[in-house]
Symmetry: C2
Subunit: 110 residues, 2 copies
Amino acid sequence: MTRRFCQRAWLKPEKVDEYRRLHANAWPGVLRTIEECNLRNYRIHLLDTLVVSTFEYVGEDYEADMRRMEADPVTQDWWTHTKPCFLRHDEGIYYEDMEEIFRFDGGDAV
Amino acid sequence: MTRRFCQRAWLKPEKVDEYRRLHANAWPGVLRTIEECNLRNYRIHLLDTLVVSTFEYVGEDYEADMRRMEADPVTQDWWTHTKPCFLRHDEGIYYEDMEEIFRFDGGDAV
């Protein structure tokens, strides 16, 4: 069953442009790992220093796939560029899960 | 063509529970209007006092459909309950559009 995620993080003000630039040209190896780890419809949104990511997980074991992602050398290299952009990098705090409090799919309700 | 939106807003700390409660039992008339105004897959996420809404617009004229929503009496009544929950209610600031800076759909790239 597809699980939907929405996550929030804060960027350092002086790193917003760099974070945007990195994601405008994300590395093929990183995208390949996202795909192989069963994430779909991955989007990141920005407003001021707030970033929000949304994605769907279509695999069978989210935690195992996240461990697989963390073990990928290309993704590890990518993170050496992206992680220092986060405000709370020194505390090891990046994207945090948000709670879904409303859902209305529509499409067959009228 | 489907347009995807991601919007951010801040709640008053003392109104977070009320906002959550309202959306746990959203009014049928409000949902009907969302549907009729061509919004789909509408979700709201919460973390602390931050709320993030995501939805898709599948109609032909977003601005016209938003005007239609604003003209709906049931939605107007609903907003008398929800809008005072927002931190910047006095300034008339509610959900604001976020910019999409990364998108990877996946699903056929491997």
